[in-house]
Amino acid sequence: MGILEWATSPWGQHVPIHIAWFLIWVAAIAGLVFFVVHVIYLRYFARAEGFAGAVTPELAVHVPERVPRHSLAARMFHWIMAVAMFTLLFTAFLPKVGVRFNWVAYHWIAGTVLTISIVFHVIHAIFWMDFWSIWPDKVDLEDALKRVRRFMGHPAPPPRKFAKYPLENKLYHGAIIATGLSVILTGVFMMFRVRTIFFPRNPYLFGDMTWGLMYVLHGLAGVGLITLVMVHVYFAVRPEKLDITKSMIFGSMKREFYLKHYDQERWAVEASTLSSKSDGKHTQV
């Protein structure tokens, strides 16, 4: 049982046509296994959080009751993307597991919405947000090593508190970029194979092998997104993460949560005047 489906083209070429659909279940089960493993880890193996350094009183005094975290634009992007992503996943995979409906039109419309929202996000992130805040830096890697050593029982100093985004967040964002761009780029080309309002059909844009590989990449990234989205939703509803989830709804988080988990030097919140530039490295409040 291979992970790809193959066929012979009219020209006798052995070409991949798409992924094997059992991978949908593999992805879903992988997500469920992650939940179970993580819950077991938290219950039996996780050590109490310990961070280097204390809250600096002279800085803390300037932190407001509500710490701005996500601007309205960033939140709107997130939720539009979420709706588009769920629509894409449901319209892509429900028909493969036996739920019959007219899915193609909904799928490419949701894909178009996702593509536009991603383009907006890239521009917004480059010009209006602290672009590098979501990418792993040297401190993240040093702290990750310390956390692993401490978990293994080896001597290591406590890690620093997090920047605006913890390393796990940044790695997840990287995985979403890889899978998201894969489905979007292949999806845009695949729209040439169906009738849409954007361009005339042109199935001869690529050869059968290239098309096949494109469908395979689209499928692999798609099933990967099943697992990634499940993991994302799991963390979003975990009690200890609810403050972060709420900040994606309301835009801000509690002062206490901020002071407990975030390094004021790595994600500085300066209390002076309220500002909507909540995604800046130095948030003005």
């Binding site: 489906e5 066929a7 012979t8 006798g12 036996g98 194979r193 009738r195 096949g212």
Partner: protein, 338 residues
């Protein structure tokens, strides 16, 4: 692609003698099983080695699926009743002549002697790219070879094409839709009765099948209510060879006319889309109007709204327009327009 004709791959053959046994076998083997009614569609697939089922369930010994019975409200036709029996049935001829006409125009006498009504409505698409075993959408692949600038698509769809452009080839299907027939299915969940028009599905719902039967399901009978018994019927099939051929397009209508006005009407065409289409918008538009050439002209124009021709089948648009016009206004009143 090499095609080895006349040499079927080995399969287990089951010949149940009851619908219950047949259904049990179908459910036991699921997607590995192939349902064979008259065998006319089946043997093409099997001999070409394009469909390679592990198990064939031959329904020819299931007597309870054969025959035409009068019911309290019309008739019930067993799914294994041959097209010839349908054509020759006195009650069908007398009250449901539309079906008789449609069935009589299917294929050749020899094929009608062997082919069944259940097989006729459940047969697969005739697109040659698909039948040749190419990995098209309908075969589980990712392309439609017919819907390309060079694809041979003269017989293909002008309406509701989505990825796959193959059409439903059944002649009895539009007649059954016009007669408001109900299809009786045995499914895992029990007996299910669906309207004829809901039995057929397009590629938007499932690109690999033309009907709603899932692996393990069995079509057992077709019930025709008396609602349209003795109505004014019209059936016309246009094909390349009048001796025997699949329809390029066909049209079926059942109409009740009162005081020179169309009181009730059901109208369906096949060969225009992947499923036989009931033209409800046309029905609504012509109800209350005189069944004449003027109404027919209007109906024909309305019927082809939204039609998108492929490279080689634009002729189907005026053809469908004229067939609908004739179904409403009658042949004598219609005039050919070039």
């Amino acid at each position: 692609m090499a095609v080895i004709r006349d040499v079927m791959r080995a399969f287990e053959l089951y010949q149940p003698n009851s619908a219950a046994d047949a259904q049990k076998l179908l459910q036991q083997y699921g997607t590995d099983a192939w349902v064979m009614a008259g065998g006319l569609d089946s043997f093409d697939w099997l001999k070409d080695r394009i469909k390679r089922p592990k198990v064939v369930v031959d329904l020819s010994g299931v007597d309870e699926l054969k025959g035409i019975r009068a019911t309290n409200d019309g008739i019930e036709i067993g799914a294994m009743t041959t097209l010839t029996e349908v054509v020759r049935s006195p009650i069908v001829r007398e009250k449901y002549g539309l079906l008789s006409e449609g069935a009589e125009l299917a294929a050749s006498p020899q094929i009608r002697n062997q082919g069944t009504i259940g097989g006729n409505v459940s047969q697969d698409a005739r697109c040659w790219y698909y039948r040749a075993g190419w990995p098209c959408y309908r075969a589980g692949g990712n392309i439609c070879y017919a819907d390309t600038p060079m694809g041979r698509n003269r017989e293909h769809a002008i309406l509701h094409a989505q990825r796959c452009v193959a059409v439903n080839p059944s002649d009895s299907a539009p007649a059954l839709i016009a007669l408001d027939a109900k299809f009786v299915l045995r499914t895992r969940e029990g007996e299910r009765i669906v309207d004829a028009e809901d039995y057929f599905i397009g590629p938007d719902i499932d690109i690999t099948r033309l009907h709603i039967l899932r692996p393990g399901d069995l079509l057992t009978a077709i019930r025709i209510p008396s609602t349209w018994a003795g109505a004014r019927f019209y059936f016309e099939k246009v094909r390349d060879r009048n001796v025997w051929d699949f329809a390029l397009l066909n049209v079926a209508s059942a109409m009740v006319v009162s005081d020179g006005r169309i009181e009730r009407i059901r109208l369906a065409v096949n060969g225009a889309a992947a499923r036989p289409l009931r033209l409800t918008a046309v029905e609504d538009a012509v109800r209350g109007k005189a069944p004449d050439a003027t109404t027919g002209l209007m109906a024909g124009r309305l019927a082809v709204e939204g039609a998108v021709p492929l490279q080689f089948n634009a002729y189907k648009i005026p053809l469908m327009r004229n067939l609908v016009k004739r179904a409403i206004g009658g042949v004598e009143e219609a005039t050919w327009a070039s």
